[in-house]
Symmetry: D2
Subunit: 487 residues, 4 copies
């Protein structure tokens, strides 16, 4: 069984020499950095639950490559049951961490690359598929965290990669050598980059022939020479640096994002999975995005469960939980949350095998799923803030609560229903703040909007996938209009 324990995972990261900058300073020991550690804890939960028999069905799978038991995050989906298990696993992890646990992008990259390299090889006679599967066996055997890196900086959005003023605004091959390639560029919004062993780089959009050099996909160790990671800020991030327990909201878990710079990074050929086959860039992007749009039907509904629970708790603390308008808002939150989940499940059960045997979700429904995710968490958060009351943004610091002069005032005046303590209310308000206005909101709201592509990207896919012409024929038939082809 190729599963690391949580502790082994953390140790394995200590051995790495990543070049990381946080708040303007280079950091050697990222594992213990207080801004990073919560996100590491969240990622480590993917190891911890995999050790528990209770979650074995969700967290583990039998590798189709080796027949070994592997962590599902390194698995190629072999059935719709696998696709469903993925979503359920993600919901549980969202519930346990209340944040992004960061390991999905790698999983989604594996599955996308597997089928695309297979189809590319068949069409072009290349040999990427076997190479990719060898690489994936390496990952599975070591139970690695792999960052899936797609989003380029993009510069002026009106221009294609090669038209940009600076050719490096999209990652590209700057040299092809006998032993490998040299690449340059950067990837933005790299969730969990500091917690990863490896990075898989993919192109960010459909490319035309003139942008051939930008059609590049490969895997690289996260501490390879030439790689620099610059940590991103989040709302209220530095509360994690304060010595406290309450104001941080989610005490143990969090997420992080980074800019990854690739400054003339060398990649040996056995880790290169696309190098110029621009005609397959769109397919790769679409499949990766599709898998990742499915993912959000899992993880965000798990976080949604936490947020609903927080709102309900606060209502209980205030004595409003039986008020009909509060119950109605809770029901609405549940309804929206479960709608997203239903879309995540449906795109999974409607999945189909690809040529490589790996299962692909139903792309139309996966895009529908994500488009709902760009809307509903915002409304759920709004309703949660409605229930929480104004204290959400006016609560004094925990240091005031601890202060001998004013602490007793706060204890006295911020007490709600008698059976609950003021501290309980404090903690719950801070959790809800974290999720809707703090670092948790970076993941629950902004990432729900932009992760796996902004809403317009989903809309374009819906237009493409929905068989509009078939629908016009249905209408024509009922209206008694003779069929004729669209112009």
């Amino acid at each position: 069984m190729a599963l690391m324990t949580k502790e082994e995972y953390i140790e394995s990261l200590r051995g790495m020499k990543k070049r990381v900058f946080i708040l303007g300073k280079q950091v050697e020991n990222v594992v213990d950095h207080p801004l990073v550690r919560p996100s590491l804890n969240a990622c480590a939960m993917t190891y911890e639950l995999a050790q528990q028999s209770e979650y074995a069905d969700l967290m583990r799978a039998t590798s189709n490559l080796t027949k070994q038991t592997v962590n599902r995050f390194t698995h190629l989906h072999q059935s719709t049951a696998d696709l469903v298990a993925k979503v359920k696993m993600q919901r549980v992890l969202g519930q346990k961490t209340g944040c992004c646990f960061q390991r999905c992008v790698g999983m989604d990259a594996f599955n996308a690359l597997d089928s695309v390299t297979c189809e590319m090889d068949r069409a072009l006679g290349t040999t990427y598929h076997a190479r990719f599967r060898r690489y994936l066996q390496y990952v599975q055997a070591r139970d690695l965290v792999v960052d899936g890196a797609m989003t380029d900086p993009k510069g002026d959005r009106r221009l294609s990669p090669s038209q940009q003023a600076d050719p490096d605004l999209f990652v590209h091959i700057v040299e092809k050598r006998s032993d490998g390639i040299v690449v340059r560029g950067a990837k933005l919004h790299q969730t969990g980059a500091l917690n990863s062993h490896e990075i898989i780089v993919m192109p960010t959009q459909t490319l035309a022939e003139q942008d051939k050099d930008y059609a590049v996909a490969f895997a690289i160790q996260a501490d390879a020479p030439g790689i620099t990671m610059i940590f991103g800020r989040q709302p209220s991030d530095t509360r994690k640096l304060e010595d406290g327990q309450l104001d941080v909201g989610n005490r143990e878990f969090g997420g992080h994002e980074a800019v990854i710079v690739l400054d003339n990074v060398f990649v040996p050929w056995d880790r290169v999975f696309m190098a110029g086959e621009y005609a397959f860039s769109g397919l790769l992007v679409g499949r990766f995005a599709g898998y990742h749009r499915q993912s959000y039907g899992g993880c965000k509904t798990g976080v949604g469960d936490v947020l609903i629970g927080a709102a309900q708790s606060l209502a209980q603390y205030q004595g409003t939980d039986k008020a009909s308008h509060i119950k109605d808002k809770i029901v609405e939150m549940i309804h929206l949350n479960e709608t997203m989940y239903a879309c995540g499940i449906a795109c999974s059960t409607e999945g189909k095998p690809t040529a490589s045997g790996t299962y692909l979700i139903d792309l139309l429904l996966a895009n529908v799923c994500k488009l709902n995710v760009t809307r509903f968490p915002y409304e759920i958060a709004r309703l949660a803030q409605d229930i929480a009351g104004g204290l959400l943004v006016t609560l004094p610091s925990e240091k005031d609560l601890a202060n001998p002069e004013v602490g007793p005032y706060l204890e006295k005046f911020l007490r709600g229903v008698e059976r609950y303590t003021t501290e309980e209310r404090y903690r719950m308000l801070r959790l809800l703040e974290n999720l809707t206005l703090g670092p948790g909101a970076a993941a629950y709201l902004a990432e729900s909007m932009h992760g796996a592509g902004s809403p317009q990207a989903q809309r374009i896919m819906l237009a493409r996938l929905a068989d509009l012409e078939g629908k016009t024929r249905l209408a024509q038939r009922l209206a008694g209009i003779a069929e004729r082809p669209s112009p």
Copy 2:
């Protein structure tokens, strides 16, 4: 193979002697009545498609009772695959008819009664389950249309059945005899009643001991003595009585509703499936409603496909189909439609077997499905009207178009893009009118709202099924609050 042809079905109805009133007059030959025939055509489509091999997987099933091939509308779901096939069948039928095809209530009643009678027998030592299954074999062998009758008039909503001024405002047993029971009352909103061979009556809500006599379920032939059916009006219904082709919108298909009066109707014991077991009334209502809430994720998305096609066609006829705001509205319609479908699929794949072996949908997700159906068709219809333009409600009659004096004016002035005829535009506008403001809207909008229970009914179920306490525990854990039971 126990499948009737469409023609046999229509003939079988001719043989019946239903007591039917339409627009104030008793009607003998309902089969050929122009207000009824379109609905009969829609119901007949469930026979027609079952004959076509293309739809065999969706329309037919192997009876678990007899191992015979039966129409899926008479089948007990034996797997989640059966539950999914049901939804897909309903979507296809919605696409083919653009209206309600009326046969789902019976199917949903069979499946609910099957598991509930089984569990009731186990709990109470009654013998309803075998009796019910014998009855269902009768239905399967004859491929019958069975109306599932649930909604009582209810009178003053604040009062329970026995508290009403008139005891008949809910169907109840007025006499128990050795050979059967005598019942009195009425059922409202009986979709497709005139096209049915049989009626299955069920209680409409959870009942307490004092309402014992109202806890009654049974099957009865639709033309049994004491039964009267009074046809309901729909918007623009009498356009079907005009001699024309265009203004009716949906030329061939429609739906209908009726009030069914049960005036001292005798039911022999072998057709009685509940008679006083009030403690099981809520379970029966919840399961029937659950199945029927799933159904709407199928049929209404099929009608939605037609409506999207109609809107897209009209945009083409006007030359606006490439305008970005029109494309965006079409995408939004697709998105909403597919979200409902996703919920229909997800509650099916998450279904589980009951004690009788019959599969039950996931009730939480089925309620989520229906709650979306009470919203999205209205928004889809609004967007369709936006795209259609004002002509939707200002178009002169088809008789004006045919009139030698003004017809040429209309031909000339109502022509859009040259490659399409004015008549095409006329037909498509009338179809869209039918679906959003005409008889089709009765089904696509008002029935989406109230069929299988009004939205508040779904909200109550969501509150009950969502494990709120579990969610508060998730939040407490992340906030560092010691668990304690809810008050």
Copy 3:
């Protein structure tokens, strides 16, 4: 006082010889035609209320042209108080009729033409303004109903008037003579055309030089030679032809629409207000549309009041009016309705005088008003249908209620709370059906969408009027960015 009584108004129409086609037949006596009469009653209400001292402030005004008391519908707004009174008058009329009372388009045309002819004369040296004011004095003195005709058929929307396959798809001048002009074309969606004494024709969009001949505005008697009116269908229109009282919903009032064909119609010069000045077509369209977008903040909120009242009544009849979810829906309906009204009021009080002295609404806010009107009535109608229950679309005909065999059944079973009769419930359900799925919905929904321009027209105006560059400067200042002009 130049005010006609309601009876005089109706008589005045009898004297006219309009060429009208209804349902394929030419009709001589339109005044008494059962499909037309309800709309005439609604228009007549603008005369009836003007006679009542209770409504004098709203319905009457002192003409700035003659100092005579005139009906506000023929008045040029001389202050923001006038603009506000207009909206309040419209709300009252909507409340009294539950439909479109048809006289606003003329009023809006007068006000738009007044300022535009003034500004056009100043810029181009033409003399339209005095001519227009003479014409308006004629209208005021006779208290006429004037149809404001703007919307051309438009054909292929991608093409300008002169590019269309058929040059007549927009109204244009076919001949300029010494005594006047000859025009040809048609106008669609002509609300209340049959009830009008006069028609004012205006161009439908901004025109360029090549479409000069289409830049034409004039007034013409509604029965002038060459004019044909073809009556439009509405949902359930023919219920007005049935001999009944209940099923028609709104017994006394309704609206109507017509296609007006102008087949080589001669217009003398003293009734021509634009003839080739294409550069002013956009200004005229924008102002007319602006006034008319304001109007909807009045009339539709009046109809909304009726719909809210109908929903509340039905809740009372059913005994659900105290249920918290019903109360909440009623509140939501009120909120949406009053939001529209607030926009109608605000664009009025923020109005400013034009060069001619006539007051123009704030165009930005008038467009905001109308854009809300394209959304909120649909949601109000949806909520009303939610409250009404399924009977809305399953209720048997009033002839069934009157039938001696089944009438008693309906009396018995459709009774709600005891203090209300079944007939009351019948009447109220039919009113709500009329407003949300019947002829009333043509006005309350589809006209709310498209009247005064479809939503995209308002969005384009918002983009134009909102001073986006000023807003970027506000943001730059706070962000500490040096100002620089937009590219």
Copy 4:
């Protein structure tokens, strides 16, 4: 002219000896505290603009008490023009500060107390009105900032003040002395408390006789003995403590909130405006809330302008500003923002004089205004985040940008359209982050939700004010139902 300059205002605060705790420590010099100063700057803007002739009409008024020119924030509204000027002043201040400028609560308290004391005196023979007006002259002459303190902690929401476990959970009179009263309790969510000269305390809800002692209103100096202020936390608040320019988002302005504890505070009789007259507590609360609900139609639309400008700027920097879906989102933001503004204007122009001569807004429309404010800013913020892109929550710190090793990478890779610098993009992203996920969101979102009462409070008012019975009569008349009184 009784107007202080901005500098005089700041100096006047230095002279006060408030007892203030911030982040667990007592702070002597609050004026220069970096967490407080931005909010002081915002409040100071109310002085700064009043000095500028450009804003004289909006910022200044002629006191009806003294005929002196006073700052409008201390003025009693004497006309609907005053009410409108208030809203426009607030919009300008929101535009200039991008946050809450804190001085409205005092103004709204003045106006509410003025009419309520007048009516209370007339009804009860008390003499509060003259006393209040003397106090207000004192405020006007000195141009003071007065905090309006309404919200009590409330404890268990199911219990009335005197039923609470702790009697101090609502402010109440603990002693009536010959020279004044002694009060105890606390007020939460006190916006701008540290920047105030005075505090006006009012009851928080309608009170019954047993809660008589809680019916208390008075003014007190902000540094009176017994008063303690505890500063509230906001998202990302400590970025103001970092030495930087960019990450703080809004460099110069912000808001703040505080808990105010009143621990046996003595108030002399000439500053007491209610002391036991519980029957008038509801009226006072309703009027204050009404004025404050109007306020949000001004200030929040001003901040909305900034947010729209920020989103548009970011679109320009990325080259997406001409994409149709981006333009459409900008239009939607404008539409929602202007809808709120329209409601603010309409409730002002529909205002009416009270018995004291002071004008009251239309309460129905003011509640409609605020109810929209509990929704639309959230949607505007969501759209802004959509346009901004993922960088909003992944951007590295400004210290990384300044770092010699990684700064050049960020300069290079985060550059958008060439004519804009990376720093401009940084600044604008941080402003948008501030407004939607940072301290600005505390005001723009959570305060929009809860300030002046949570949405349910507005809904209750709408139900009360909307004349539902009148609406049922409108419907009955059209349906042909004889009028009868509601039960």
